[in-house]
């Protein structure tokens, strides 16, 4: 089985609001896939359809080779889920909730006690506190420990680090990297780009219920422009050179954006003039992301 999640042209509306408008999403087995988008883009709706909590209005969704709506309960035995907004039963303790969720997932004997203990220590969680006494971050930790301690083959994590402090965020990243080595598939919805950049093998960016970009970070960068900032020995005219955009020349300083395909030619031009210093870097994920979300920057459209 090549793909853990395969969604085609998913559509879902709530009343007159169209939450998903033909969304495509492919998550390969064994990869960490980041699902990026601003609030309200449709990330949580997609995950809830994949969990069979919502029924899709149209399109196709295949999860672990099954139908997420029809085969919900059998599929759920093979996955673990961390909701975006973790609410717990106020009268139960964190430890009880971790055990309960593991047993509901289908393990009679509960969970691997050693693994549970290690995770509780790693996330610095007090398992005997009632959930009503937990802060948002601690509630998040309970859900994370419950998911990570399971032996599920697929983890669906909806903004898992919202509310965690930087130290715990680092612990989370270590855990995800460890899971990757164990061969688990992880779908990580997020709007924290550095997290996705650090963890994800592949990325899908969604906007208004549609996937606008998908691929590895390298592939996505490939499709876009590089930022070039050079200090030259002699002036050189880049005016009118194909593939050069937003040219800004101040004396010997040249700044511009260059299409991936034209990069070689532009660099040759620059070196022929003599380079004193040169910075050439691909766009960060943040810049890729912003490109899809800011309307003023339509001119940057690199997919053309």
């Amino acid at each position: 089985m090549a793909n853990a999640i395969e969604a085609r042209a998913l559509r879902k509306s709530f009343g007159r609001t169209r939450a998903l408008d033909g969304l495509d999403l492919t998550v390969r087995t064994g990869e960490v896939h980041a699902f990026l988008g601003p609030n309200g883009a449709g990330k949580t709706t997609t995950i809830r359809i994949l969990l069979g909590l919502l029924n899709k209005d149209g399109g196709e969704a295949v999860l672990l080779g099954g139908d997420p709506w029809r085969d919900a309960t059998t599929l759920h035995a093979r996955l673990a889920y961390v909701p975006g907004d973790v609410t717990l039963w106020p009268s139960l303790t964190g430890g009880e909730i971790i055990d309960l969720l593991a047993r509901l997932r289908g393990r009679r004997d509960g969970i691997d006690a050693k693994r549970r203990q290690a995770l509780i220590e790693r996330f610095d969680l007090d398992p005997s506190k009632k959930a009503r006494a937990y802060s948002k971050g601690n509630r998040q930790k309970v859900a994370l420990v419950a998911a990570l301690a399971s032996d599920a083959e697929l983890l669906l994590l909806d903004e898992p680090t919202a509310g965690l402090d930087p130290l715990m965020e680092a612990s989370f990243r270590e855990c995800v990297n460890a899971e990757r080595h164990d061969g688990r598939t992880i779908l990580l919805s997020s709007h924290i780009l550095s997290e996705a950049e650090a963890l994800a093998d592949r990325v899908t960016i969604i906007r208004d219920g549609q996937a606008v970009e998908t691929g590895t970070l390298a592939e996505m960068r490939h499709l876009t422009r590089n930022f070039v900032d050079a200090d030259l020995a002699a002036p050189v005219s880049l005016e009118g050179v194909p593939g050069v955009h937003d040219l800004d020349v101040q004396d010997s300083r040249v700044r511009c954006q260059v299409d991936h395909a034209a990069l070689g030619d532009v660099l040759a031009l620059l070196t022929s003039a003599g380079v004193r210093s040169l910075t050439c870097r691909p766009p960060t994920l943040e810049e890729l992301f912003l490109r899809h979300y800011s309307t003023e920057r339509v001119g940057l459209g690199a997919r053309s």
């Binding site: 909590l53 009880e96 005997s128 859900a143």
Partner: protein
């Protein structure tokens, strides 16, 4: 969608964020921001508050009007009064009757119940604007603005006082239009309003004691239930014996004022003093605790789950057992006490010939005791329906609060999850009705010297109410599956309608078609009545049918 989500626009609408606080002259005091918070609360509840005021005023004024139509002659009214005063079961349900004028009859039939409805409104409003907001973290947001420490509690009290005052003023002005004397109208209106205020004060204290909204509501509703039972037993006991019990109950004070009869205005001081005491105590308690904390402590729990907590039913049981324990304790105490009062009830012989005629017409002592016990069991069934409905509706709050999601993301299917809470609801209702029967049987049997037979007989009488209670729970399941948005208001409206039909339907001579909607119209009056299996079987069938349709609906709809 979520309640927290609604607070946002409301805050903006009421100008809470504005800095008009200095103009109130309360800035920098513990009361800063009270006006803004009260306006916010009134705005959030405007529809529910207006509806509550309308229903209560229309109920009382409407009954006064209907009585005039139904009992136009003095003889007819005297006969009704003789029934009302002579039958301990009716005294238990509705209270004492002073005189036989239209006003007296209205006070008898609605004095206690209008007081209960007003008290319920006060309890829900006070808890909603103090503990619920605190629990949801909204008070934290508000408290970080220029808002005094006492502002939320004062705003909650003012918000509860607003509908209570509206009810009082409207009844005061409306009742004379139905032809009732002005003085009596004033006494009845003030009595009902003062009762609402008394429970406003009691709830203010409850909201400081418990650390959760559910706990605070539980304490206040427990006091209301105890007040009803004390009054019921005291009133049923008639002139002698335990009748002093009525004086302990805020619900009895309305009739003890004797509107349209002696008009003992000084009795109104009792509820007003209760209100004042409650408010003072609440502020004292509030000053001693932190935001979010209660006075009753929160204990840490086990770091690992017990074996019990390993399937959906275990979870539902764990979540609901605290509430059920409270209900069982309340049922045991009140029905044992009410049952014990049955002996005195049967010995009563009226002073007037009309009363004695009525006594004989009802079938003498044994029949009167049976009628009283049957009224007790009807009440157990009606309140049991309310318990079953709230236990089923736990499903809806689990769903809207996002706690259903992690469970449904495991191997637990929707139907299995829903059945877990339904199982607890059914088992809890069986337990409650059995406790009601056994407790009433013990209470009466021990005094009458026949505990063994009474316990068996009353256990049967209690369990006979089961199909009726469960039919209403099934309505909640049906709505939850098919119309989740309407489940909570719809299910409670159904319970309210059934209670209204059971208590007031026959008296107001509504058509049989309406009476027959209520499952408790089909339930045998036990002990003493005859049992036919057919209607009970139909009720069970309807309950199962509704539940199955509801569960099928749940399988098809979106969650959340």
């Amino acid at each position: 969608m979520t309640r927290a989500g609604q607070a946002g626009p409301d805050l903006a609408d009421t100008g809470l964020a504005d800095t008009g606080l200095a103009s109130t002259g309360l800035a920098n005091t513990g009361l800063a921001g009270t006006g803004e918070l009260t306006r916010l609360a009134l705005r959030r509840d405007r529809i529910a508050l207006v509806a509550t005021v309308y229903v209560i005023v229309a109920l009382v004024a409407g009954t006064a009007w209907t009585f005039r139509k139904l009992y136009p002659t003095a003889a007819g009214r005297a006969a009704l009064a003789a029934t009302g005063e002579g039958n301990p079961a009716l005294r238990f349900l509705y209270g004492r009757l002073y005189g036989d004028s239209l006003g007296s009859l209205t006070t008898w039939r609605y004095g206690v119940w209008a007081g209960i409805f007003t008290a319920l409104a006060a309890i829900f409003v006070v808890v909603r604007h103090t503990r619920t907001d605190e629990e949801a973290g909204r008070l934290e947001l508000v408290g970080s603005a220029v808002v005094g420490r006492d502002a939320a509690l004062v705003a909650g009290l003012l918000t509860a006082a607003a509908p209570v005052l509206a009810i009082t003023v409207l009844l005061w002005t409306a009742l004379p239009f139905t032809g009732l004397p002005a003085a009596g109208s004033a006494a009845l209106a003030l009595g009902i309003g003062a009762c609402g205020l008394a429970f406003t004060g009691i709830t203010a204290v409850a909201a400081q004691l418990a650390s959760t909204a559910g706990g605070a509501r539980g304490i206040a509703l427990g006091v209301l239930g105890a007040a009803f039972m004390l009054r019921g037993v005291g009133d049923a006991a008639g002139a002698g014996g335990l009748s002093w019990l009525s004086w302990v109950s805020p619900l009895a004070w309305i009739q003890l004022t004797q509107p349209f009869a002696a008009e003992r205005w000084w009795v109104l001081a009792l509820p007003l003093a209760t209100f004042a005491l409650g408010v003072v105590l609440a502020f004292q308690l509030a000053a001693r605790r932190d935001l979010g904390a209660g006075l009753l402590p929160d204990r840490p729990g086990g770091p690992a789950a017990s074996r019990l907590l390993s399937n959906p039913v275990g979870l539902a049981w764990r979540l609901q057992r605290g509430m059920l324990a409270g209900w069982v304790a309340g049922y045991a105490v009140t029905f044992a006490a009410s049952g014990a009062a049955a002996k005195g009830v049967g010995q009563l012989v009226g002073t007037s010939t009309a009363l004695q005629r009525e006594f004989a017409r009802l079938g003498g002592q044994a029949a009167i005791v049976n009628a009283y016990l049957a009224a007790l069991m009807l009440l157990a069934g009606l309140v049991g329906a309310a318990y079953a409905t709230s236990a089923v509706l736990r499903l809806r709050s689990e769903e809207t609060d996002g706690r259903a999601e992690p469970v449904l993301a495991t191997r637990t299917g929707r139907v299995r999850w829903a059945l877990s809470h339904i199982t607890v609801a059914v088992a809890g209702t069986v337990l409650l009705l059995a406790v009601a029967g056994v407790a009433a049987g013990l209470g009466y049997g021990l005094r009458a010297g026949s505990a063994g037979t009474e316990v068996t007989r009353m256990l049967g009488a209690g369990l006979a109410q089961l199909p009726g209670s469960l039919a209403l729970a099934a309505v909640a399941v049906l709505l939850f599956g098919l119309l989740p948005e309407a489940a909570v208001p719809g299910a409670w409206t159904a319970v309210g309608l059934v209670v209204a039909i059971a208590l007031f339907g026959e008296l107001l001579q509504v058509s049989h078609w309406v009476l027959d909607i209520s499952p408790f119209t089909q339930t045998p009056r036990l002990p003493g009545g005859t049992v036919t299996a057919e209607p009970l079987l139909w009720l069970c069938l309807a309950a199962v049918g509704f539940s199955v349709i509801g569960l099928l609906g749940l399988r098809r709809r979106d969650i959340g």
